[in-house]
C-alpha cells in the first residue's frame, strides 16, 4: 500500500501511541488499562507501519524480532510468579514494596505489576509476530 497520507500519519502516530501505551500500562492497576490493552496499543503503530511501508520496514524500525518479545514476556511473567516462591510463599503470591520518589511520595511496587509487564511485552510480541507473518505471507 502506498498511501502518502497513511505513511505520514503512521510516522507521527508511532511515538504518540507508544507513549499512550506506557500511560495505559502505568495506570492499569488503578484505572482502566493494563498490560493487555497497553500491549495491543503499543503493537498498533507497528502494525500500521507494516501496512503503510511493508513488514520489512516495520521490522527495521522495531529492530528486534517480535518473537523475542513473546519469550521475554513469558519469562518476566514467570519470574513474577516465582519471586513469591523464593520467599517461601506459594507460587504467585504477591510481594510488595514501595519506592519513595521525590515530589510524588511513595509508589507501590509489587510482583503483580511485574507480571503485568510480562503480559504487556508478551501481548506486544504475539500481536506483531502474527501481523508481520501475515503481512509477509506470499
Amino acid at each position: 500500500m502506498n498511501s502518502l497520507i497513511l505513511q505520514t500519519t503512521t510516522r507521527y502516530l508511532l511515538p504518540l501511541l507508544l507513549l499512550f501505551s506506557i500511560f495505559l500500562f502505568g495506570r492499569g492497576h488503578n484505572e482502566p488499562g493494563g498490560g493487555f490493552v497497553a500491549g495491543l496499543v503499543a503493537a498498533a503503530p507497528f502494525a500500521l507501519y507494516s501496512i503503510a511501508f511493508g513488514a520489512r520496514e516495520a521490522r527495521r524500525v522495531l529492530r528486534i524480532d517480535p518473537r523475542w518479545f513473546i519469550g521475554f514476556g513469558l519469562l518476566v511473567a514467570l519470574t513474577a510468579g516465582l519471586l513469591g516462591v523464593l520467599l517461601g510463599r506459594p507460587f504467585f503470591s504477591g510481594v510488595w514494596t514501595y519506592l519513595v520518589v521525590p515530589g510524588l511520595g511513595p509508589i507501590d511496587l509489587g510482583t503483580p505489576m511485574l507480571f503485568d509487564l510480562g503480559v504487556y511485552v508478551g501481548v506486544f510480541g504475539v500481536t506483531l509476530t502474527i501481523i508481520f507473518a501475515m503481512e509477509e505471507a506470499d
Partner: protein, 115 residues
C-alpha cells in the same frame, strides 16, 4: 435491560451457526468470529448487567461502592477476547496454508484425510 442482550446473543449465535455450516472455509472463519462475540456476551449477560458503574475503587476508598458491575466475568471475558484473537489468527493462518496446499476453500473437497 438484559432482555435486549438475550436477543442479541441469540441472533449472534444463529448467524455464527449458519456461517459455521457453510462449505466455504472463509465463511466458516467469519462464523467463528461471530461465535466468540456471542459467547463473550453470553458470559457478560448471565452475570447480570449494571449500567455505567465500572468496578473501580474510588481514590481513597477501601471497597467498591455499590452498585458496581461484577468484575469477575469481566476478567474472564477479557481473557476470552484475547484468546479468541489468538485462535482466530491461528485459524486464519491455517486457512491460508490449507488453501495454498489444496488449492480450494471448499471443505467438501478436503475430506481426504478423514475417510
Amino acid at each position: 435491560m438484559e432482555i435486549v442482550l438475550a436477543f442479541v446473543i441469540g441472533g449472534l449465535y444463529a448467524a455464527a451457526v449458519y456461517m459455521l455450516l457453510r462449505r466455504s472455509l472463509v465463511k466458516m472463519l467469519i462464523g467463528l468470529a461471530l461465535l466468540s462475540h456471542a459467547a463473550n456476551l453470553l458470559i457478560f449477560a448471565v452475570a447480570r448487567l449494571t449500567r455505567g458503574r465500572p468496578p473501580i475503587i474510588s481514590l481513597g476508598a477501601e471497597d467498591l461502592a455499590s452498585p458496581y458491575a461484577d468484575p469477575l466475568p469481566q476478567a474472564l471475558i477479557l481473557t476470552s477476547i484475547v484468546i479468541s484473537f489468538g485462535v482466530m489468527a491461528f485459524a486464519l493462518a491455517l486457512a491460508y496454508r490449507t488453501y495454498r496446499t489444496t488449492g480450494t476453500d471448499d471443505l467438501d473437497a478436503m475430506r481426504g484425510s478423514d475417510r
